[in-house]
Symmetry: C2
Subunit: 228 residues, 2 copies
Amino acid sequence: MSKAVVLLSGGLDSATMLAIARHQGFEPCAITFRYGQRHVVEIEAARRLVKTMDISEHLEVEFDLRAMGGSALTSSLAVPKGRSAAEMREGIPVTYVPARNTIFLSFALGYAESLKANHIFVGVNALDYAGYPDCRPEYIRAFESMARLATKSGVEGDEPLTLHTPLIQMTKSQIIACGLELNVDYSLTSSCYDPGETGLACGTCDACSLRLEGFRENGINDPVAYHS
Amino acid sequence: MSKAVVLLSGGLDSATMLAIARHQGFEPCAITFRYGQRHVVEIEAARRLVKTMDISEHLEVEFDLRAMGGSALTSSLAVPKGRSAAEMREGIPVTYVPARNTIFLSFALGYAESLKANHIFVGVNALDYAGYPDCRPEYIRAFESMARLATKSGVEGDEPLTLHTPLIQMTKSQIIACGLELNVDYSLTSSCYDPGETGLACGTCDACSLRLEGFRENGINDPVAYHS
């Protein structure tokens, strides 16, 4: 089996992607980031998923993006609540973290190279997160082109690196339907941007709103506990 | 003055580049990485340079690449000593760190975005380090293309980001000549890959060999202290 590095935040999307990577015949090696996010509880979710899904390799990388500022996810800026789908699609949200996906993918690239893996799975989504520049298909293709030149395998002529984005054009409802088919246990996941001290999902930030709507469209209840 | 993010390791090349960025009219903002390198003494050099050259912004980012393995710079693998220039140019050396420049540039990109800076200076060199895939001009151009799509400014249509690589085609001797003209104090810098517990340069690793040869070609002594 070929190894594939899978970016695993611990949220619904990356949990589904972990199952997709395995379903496609890869041996998934997970990478998770502790970067100063206020929703650090997602890392516990990533560990639960790795354990339950019997993933043999899991690298946790730690750094602090708070010093750079500029995002509600890594500062005391308020996380927007109760926004409609239309409002979420307007402009770049305050939850955008400067260059976050580029930083994540760069570590994934180093990890892939050290594992001699030529596949990276990243759960970006161009529909729900249309406002994030680093979730767009053209960005993903540009990163892949750069990555093919960045590493030993790019020089020594092995199989070129492939960036897989299986969720990029799926709605949240389609992602959940796909995950249920692959027996993903969504009770283990954590999506909320603003879980507070209880660790329970707030139910009203963009991530919670999209998630709740996705379960509703599948006609089932979200198995995680909500604060309200 | 436009701000420019300058990758500052504390070595001879990045010290020169800091002076070049200022000479070109930019306000340099330095970024330095503590990544588990065995030559962590270079960070002290970076701080000395920032202080002496009166740089107003300096971000230090910390993460650990040792968990990924695969390089003599971040493990107990032996650093090669006493190699000729021809030997250094053969293949990819064991001091190559998987995806290191991509990781460094990604953080620089986030820092630039948070500073609203559209310029990044990186001291890659395609002559001395021909064996490093992430020092090649085609890699740099690919990173720049990706970076222009990755960030807010790429979406909102500001001035596109420019990656400056003023040293890319210069020999070590030319870099030193340029730095001397700009009054760089090379006694503050640290280049050695393997300084050991004394913190003194070893004089025989690739970095020391190239540096010593560069000073010799300029007809002057390297002002840093050597172990032997």
